[in-house]
Symmetry: C2
Subunit: 640 residues, 2 copies
């Protein structure tokens, strides 16, 4: 036990007492990596997502990339101001679920929670596989190890998050800030070069030529490009949901973190868009030979393929792979809120040794690990399901805030900000749903509905259990508790059954030993030896009634059914009296011995508990083989 604990301490860190909670909280410097990785990593794939849809326009795409990016950046602005207000209004964490619950009612809140949960789950699988995919395309030798790399990254995320919030912040600080720094440096170089050459810089390494246009510009194409670019906005919700992780005054920490994340993101997205235009960088068709990511083309064009290119790409890969962390920081928190309201099992409420919501972290780890294994580490098929959930949750949250201000009756300005947010995100939701419907958005919607049904089902069960067990009755004084009858099932006469019998005599005045005989196992009928083994010693002990022996023959070779039926009959004959079935349970010294045992006692116990009767209790009387070994050794040592 001690050794196991030492290993756990090494992996997960020493346990943290509940009172030390304040010290586990963080400021904006750690808050950005913890809650912002998902959002910031969007700078790596957002522009690419947008440009990929515009490939059919050829060079013409570059004319639209700035406009569309500006639209997205505008949306970011709206979201920033409205979430700032949410943070102020809900200092204990104002995720979409909370805001919708308090202002729009149960239905809306569950839809928001389900949408967010789906988005977070997909984010883990998609983020990790995108990061590992980028690594593998940089180092093709690693291709066969794609799945192990994905699962390894996932394991790191799970362990780091189980270690608690502070250590997650510390672990992810370096890659996050390195990524932001490197990308900003590339953009500054690009700006300087563009300024020198009057807006037409000469690329150090020329990007692949953009193909000829194959399609005319259409509104539908632009709308789809916009919708695709909006995947960049997932993860923004995280901060308003995670307010409680910040040091007091936590509102201020959360506001600053949100501002920093969105500010950085706006600069990076706009910078990349402008640089792409200046350097004539377009998307290359993914999955074909000659594919190169937009960021790789751009970096090579600006700084060449030297060590700085390598460094920048390494940070991109790291940030993509770790962007899944936002889900680990936030989803368990959401699950806890749902569990507190009875929409998820209670185990999601408990904090682990490091004050993290261990259960949610482990469940998320297993779920996304399964997704990765099923899709063999290539989860591109899941991308269309993505982003829809985030925008649904955004809209619910914004609409909830509108209602919040309306109820308060003042703060007209704030109401308008949130209303603009609601309309903006709502419109985007409709655009995404419409443009990606057949690609998989329909599945997202189905999954959200299924999750809502699950939440409601769990709540119904939760309420049912509560109703069934809640009582303020004191101890019953009308029915004085009576000593129970005891039944001891035994296969043969041995040390375990002897111990169980002894224990039964101790608490029950009437004891029945039950032997079930079948043709398959040779066991001696105990009838002849019973007087000598039990009855005579019982008389010497002065027992009022000696334990009786009942031998049952099972012609269908069933061991449990005859036993079960006998006890049931006994219960019917003694209505109002408890019957204790004393099961001798042999405890093996080593865990692998479990596979060698017959598990008869576990079967009997489960049978009586699951199919039993309120009058029947099951007593497990353990017999430790381990003790027997020690005892023998002791005797051997002490004997001359």
């Amino acid at each position: 036990m001690l050794r196991r604990r030492a290993i756990l301490d090494l992996i997960l860190g020493r346990p943290i007492a509940s009172e030390e909670e304040q010290e586990e909280r963080v400021g904006p410097v750690r808050g950005i990596p913890i809650l912002g990785l998902d959002a910031l990593s969007s700078a790596a794939y957002g522009p690419e997502a947008l440009l990929t849809v515009l490939i059919p326009l050829g060079v013409g795409a570059l004319a639209h990339v700035t406009t569309l990016t500006l639209l997205i950046v505008g949306l970011f602005g709206i979201v920033f101001f409205s979430y700032r207000q949410t943070i102020d209004a809900y200092p204990n964490g104002g995720g979409s679920y909370t805001v919708a619950k308090e202002n729009l009612g149960r239905g809306a809140s569950l839809v928001a929670a389900a949408a967010l949960a789906l988005d977070y789950m997909l984010n883990v699988a998609v983020g990790i596989s995108a990061g590992v995919g980028a690594l593998v395309s940089a180092v093709p030798r690693l291709l066969p190890s794609t799945l192990p790399l994905c699962l390894g990254t996932l394991a790191v995320l799970v362990v780091v998050n189980l270690r608690g919030v502070r250590s997650a912040g510390a672990a992810f600080m370096v890659p996050t800030y390195a990524f932001v720094g490197a990308l900003l440096a590339v953009l500054v170089f690009a700006a300087v070069a563009a300024a020198r050459h009057a807006g037409h810089p000469v690329p150090v390494v020329a990007p692949p030529a953009i193909g000829p246009p194959t399609e005319a510009v259409s509104v539908w194409l632009l709308v789809r490009a916009f919708a695709n670019g909006c995947t960049a906005m997932t993860g923004v919700e995280a901060v308003s949901n995670g307010v409680p992780i910040f040091r007091e005054p936590s509102r201020r920490g959360a506001r600053r973190t949100l501002g920093a994340i969105i500010g950085l993101l706006i600069v990076l997205l706009l910078g990349v868009a402008l640089a792409c235009r200046a350097y004539h960088v377009g998307a290359t068709p993914p999955g074909r030979t000659g594919y190169e990511s937009v960021l790789s083309q751009l970096t090579a064009a600006v700084v060449g393929r030297g060590w700085f290119y390598g460094l920048t790409m390494a940070t991109v890969i790291a940030v993509l792979a770790l962007s899944a962390n936002t889900s680990f920081a936030d989803l368990p928190r959401l699950c806890r809120l749902l569990a507190l309201d009875g929409f998820l099992p209670q185990s999601f409420v408990r904090r682990g040794r490091r004050l993290a919501f261990s259960h949610g972290i482990l469940v998320l780890g297993v779920a996304s690990g399964t997704l990765l294994v099923v899709f063999d580490g290539v989860t591109a098929a899941l991308i269309p399901l993505f982003a829809l959930g985030a925008f649904l949750a955004f809209t619910m949250s914004q609409a909830g805030m509108v209602q919040h201000w309306r109820r308060q009756g003042r703060h007209r300005g704030k109401l308008i900000v949130n209303a603009i947010g609601a309309v903006g995100t709502g419109t985007t939701f409709v655009i995404i749903a419409a443009s990606k419907f057949s690609e998989g958005a329909w599945l997202s919607i189905l999954i959200v509905l299924a999750l809502v049904a699950l939440f409601l089902g769990v709540r119904r069960h939760h309420d049912f259990v509560l109703r069934a067990t809640r009582t303020d009755d004191a101890l019953d004084v009308c029915h004085a508790p009576r000593a129970p009858l005891a039944v001891v099932p035994m296969r043969a006469w041995n040390a375990e059954s002897l111990k169980a019998l002894h224990f039964a005599i101790g608490f029950a005045p009437d004891v029945v030993a039950l032997q079930v005989l079948t043709d398959d196992h040779q066991a001696d009928d105990l009838t002849n030896r019973w007087a000598e083994l039990v009855e005579r010693p019982a008389r010497r002990l002065g027992l009022a009634t000696a334990p009786r022996l009942v031998v049952l023959r099972s012609e269908y070779r069933r061991l449990y059914a005859p036993l079960f039926e006998y006890v049931k009959r006994m219960v019917d004959q003694h209505r109002g009296r408890q019957v204790a079935v004393v099961v001798p349970e042999t405890i093996e010294p080593r865990w692998w011995d479990y596979f060698l045992g017959s598990h008869r006692s576990a079967w009997v116990r489960d049978l009586f508990l699951l199919r039993g009767d309120p009058q029947i209790a099951v007593v497990s009387a353990p017999f430790y083989l381990r003790e027997w070994v020690f005892e023998r050794r002791r005797l051997r040592v002490s004997s001359p």
Copy 2:
């Protein structure tokens, strides 16, 4: 419960009493399909296996096929006579294990058992995948369903065998005899045609031309062809092992069945070899385009590609897929023998509702299902591991019989027959091991050794448990059993904990209620209400000591550790007295509710049993939510 039983009756048949055993036994007509499917199916793949090795010889192969087949047939003859003698000597089933155990000792018997077990396991996976492979190559549309088809076949075999020996015989009779009949008909047609055309019949559909020779004849090549052809001999052991399934006099039934199986097989193998030679049919390289099985070429050449061709091929496919049945008939029987001697867990001894050895059948089903899933239904890679085990077991069995006759001191003739058998099968074993060593035979040998180690480990554990628990002591009269102390862990005051407390008061004079409080779950400290809820009613009940309340605060949010440590301290303080931990266990009404529960009671129970102390017993006091529902309904109905 009733409904579940009806479904089981439908699938598995009504239970059969132990006394009805005689009626479950069979005669040779059913015995051949049950025990002979594996051997007979060899006619379908044996010649092919032999010819495939000879491909490099081109047309020259046909000159050797009859000689090699004659050698194999000769080996069959030897095996037939020696196993006939084994059946006579061991009327209760004389598998290699029994014969080796009684004559050569433990080591040899375990090697024989391990070799046989490996062979039987491989036989299931390889047989099913070969049959499904043949089906798929005939109907390419089914290719994507290879794995489901394999698993479906496996499921049929498992269920049919669980239904008992008689119904297995009935189920497999039609395909077995149809196969034998169809193949014999093809051979008769071929013989007639050959006789008409003076040994040079004109094929109806010309088989693919045999390629030019690429290698000269070498001894090594012929030896390898012989070794490959010997795969035809697996499954012959089954009859001598399965003597007890035959109606009395069971020896006669077994002898006749063995004779029929080997006789048929000799005719089929020789017939196919001669017909191949007459029709110039050679093997085509497997796995390349243009591959066609030898039997398909031969049937098409003799009768054309009409309905009879289709019928013959259908029976070939069926027999290949069902050849796995021999393993299901025999391996569980072998496992039972091993379990009776303590080399496998006791559960292998018990016969199921239909007198079949259900546990062994299910274990074999799961093991081979896993193999099929891992290899995705294509188990060709396992074929080199095959046959070695069978010949090792043959050799052990024959050598054991030699020793048997030597001990008896007479029956010189019989001794010679078995000695010839031992030398023949032993030589073949060496040939196979040498020629297939690098292809996988080394792995077979390793697995056999690992299985032997497993058997010995299980036996050691078995002996240990027996030593530790065996006792002839009567009930202890020196230490009068004393009423135990009771501890009732409770999270809050509710119906379950009330019930557990009530039960504890019934059997223990001293009861402690233990409440563990953490910061995560809001539960009320019961201290203030204890007097009213428990102490006052206890006084009214006239209890000598009212149950005490102990509240523990867990600053690290652990629920079980404080409870466990408290009880351990209690045990130390009251040496020699039993402590009963009464765990309230909520039983959910529907099985899927299991996933919603917190399983706290199961955790507590397992903690105390696995890490506990001989002085601690665990009492599970069930609280049935189901009962509560019924109760409510009853009240609602009875109230006006």
